[in-house]
């Protein structure tokens, strides 16, 4: 499982199935959420942004956690694939966090009247985005791939230890200021016909993430193992 050629063949065989499935789950979830779920009694229809916002925020955080796990694997066992995972996952994590930030801002405008509030959650998501950018900047500045992997692993492991502290301190900082007039955390308890499409969206987002990740991993493997015989064979057979 840990060997790049094996993973590559496995991913290449599964992706043509997996990508359409994940796309259709996502589309079903979004159509259900945007088109058919009942509108919120307080916010009206604008709450439908939740079907993009919440899953991408969840993904943004859990990708970081995954990166830390694979980062420690890369540091301890020097597993090549773990390093490649890190490299492929970081831009995706940054993209999902960015989507969460943008959708949050667009949601904030009609409900709170502003694009941005220095709320604890928003702030820590913003910091998470900065952490992703730092990791991407770090590995792309190091020419040697293995070194870059390990440096990025190290910073993501250190980051995941610090992230709870950041969250905690941002909470404190929030209570220190006057309490926010708006509250995102206490959303109205959801009815099941809102909850199910959201659940499907979350699952669809995870699936999409996995298929995007496998695509990136395939590229990563091909470029790195360019000089090996199996890559040459693969390329010559395919072209």
């Amino acid at each position: 499982m840990g060997s790049p050629p094996f993973f590559f063949k496995w991913a290449s065989r599964l992706l043509p199935w997996f990508s359409p499935i994940s796309f259709s789950i996502l589309i079903i979830g979004l159509i259900w959420g945007v088109g058919f779920a009942p509108s919120d009694y307080k916010q009206g229809d604008v709450y439908r942004i939740i079907f993009v916002h919440v899953p991408s925020a969840i993904l943004g955080q859990s990708i970081y956690l995954m990166m830390a796990i694979f980062g420690s694997i890369c540091l301890i066992w020097r597993a090549k694939l773990a390093g490649m995972f890190l490299r492929s996952a970081a831009p995706l994590g940054a993209s999902f966090t960015l989507i969460a930030l943008i959708s949050g801002a667009v949601w904030g405008k009609p409900t709170w009247g502003t694009w941005w509030v220095w709320d604890a959650r928003l702030t820590s998501t913003l910091i998470l985005f900065f952490l992703y950018v730092g990791i991407i900047g770090l590995y792309s500045s190091i020419d040697n791939k293995q070194k870059g992997d390990r440096a990025a692993s190290l910073i993501s492991v250190v980051g995941v230890i610090i992230v709870p502290i950041i969250k905690k301190s941002v909470d404190w900082w929030q209570t220190l200021h006057q309490p926010s007039t708006f509250s995102i955390t206490s959303s109205p308890s959801m009815t099941s016909d809102m909850y199910f499409p959201l659940l499907i969206c979350v699952i669809g987002f995870y699936f999409i993430f996995v298929s995007l990740l496998c695509n990136r991993l395939r590229v990563e493997i091909l470029t790195r193992e360019r000089n090996t015989t199996w890559v040459k064979e693969y390329l010559n057979n395919k072209v």
């Binding site: 540091l75 910091i127 900065f130 952490l131 950018v133 730092g134 990791i135 900047g137 770090l138 500045s141 190091i142 070194k147 390990r150 440096a151 190290l154 910073i155 492991v157 250190v158 980051g159 230890i161 610090i162 502290i165 950041i166 905690k168 301190s169 941002v170 404190w172 900082w173 220190l176």
Partner: protein
């Protein structure tokens, strides 16, 4: 016994060397200091000179200035020694790298952090801080600058041979808790509230950070070297 004494003399050698080196160039410890004071005096110029307004902003101003000033000198921790080959010699001396890292962080703190403490005394007049705040300000800066030096060393080790701005991008998000806690301590002190709990938390971060971040820095150096 003999072993610990060689470790200590190794520590002392690096520390003395780094301090001697920065005393050769007055700029290395004067520039962060002057930078700190300039940044602090920029705020009244930009935001107006009303006393109460300035003193309510002052905790944030002091901490942002301290953060930037301490980052300014971060590049010199490992990069200079890397460029002229001294880092090779230290790594090949057979002495533990942990001690090297610790000594270098300590030297960086003595050269940038301690002068900042003195400069922050001056800044209390600039920003009209009440007298009772001076002590919490100094203690929080003392711990905070040490943590910043530790984080800076990690960033510097990860970006050996790269531009300094990259290490700033990596280190700054990680240093947000220090900023928030430092500001919280001063603000609570100004409002006569209990600031000790924040201070304890900052102290706990230091207690975990010294071994943790030093180990991470050692790992970062070994990554950049093999």
């Amino acid at each position: 016994m003999n072993n610990t004494s060689t470790l200590f003399s190794w520590f002392r050698l690096i520390l003395k060397r780094d301090l001697a080196l920065s005393f050769k160039k007055i700029a290395t410890f004067l520039i962060p200091l002057v930078f700190f004071l300039i940044v602090i005096s920029l705020f009244p110029l930009a935001l107006g000179t009303e006393n109460s307004f300035l003193s309510s902003l002052s905790p944030g101003v002091i901490w942002v200035a301290a953060l930037l000033a301490s980052l300014l000198a971060v590049e010199s921790i490992f990069n200079e020694d890397f460029r002229d080959g001294t880092l090779d010699h230290f790594l090949l001396s057979g002495e533990p790298i942990f001690i090297l890292v610790f000594a270098k962080v300590f030297a960086h703190w003595l050269v940038t952090g301690v002068p900042l403490l003195l400069a922050s005394l001056i800044s209390t007049f600039f920003l009209f801080l009440p007298e009772g705040v001076v002590l919490p300000l100094l203690i929080s800066l003392l711990i905070g600058t040490l943590l910043l030096s530790l984080l800076g060393a990690l960033g510097s080790a990860l970006t050996i041979g790269k531009t300094a701005i990259l290490s700033a991008v990596i280190v700054l998000p990680l240093s947000i808790p220090i900023l928030i806690l430092g500001v919280a301590i001063i603000t609570s002190a100004i409002n006569n509230q209990d600031y000790l709990s924040y201070l304890y938390f900052l102290g706990a971060m230091l207690a975990v950070g010294i071994p943790g971040l030093c180990l991470a820095t050692v790992e970062a150096i070994s990554i950049n070297y093999d």
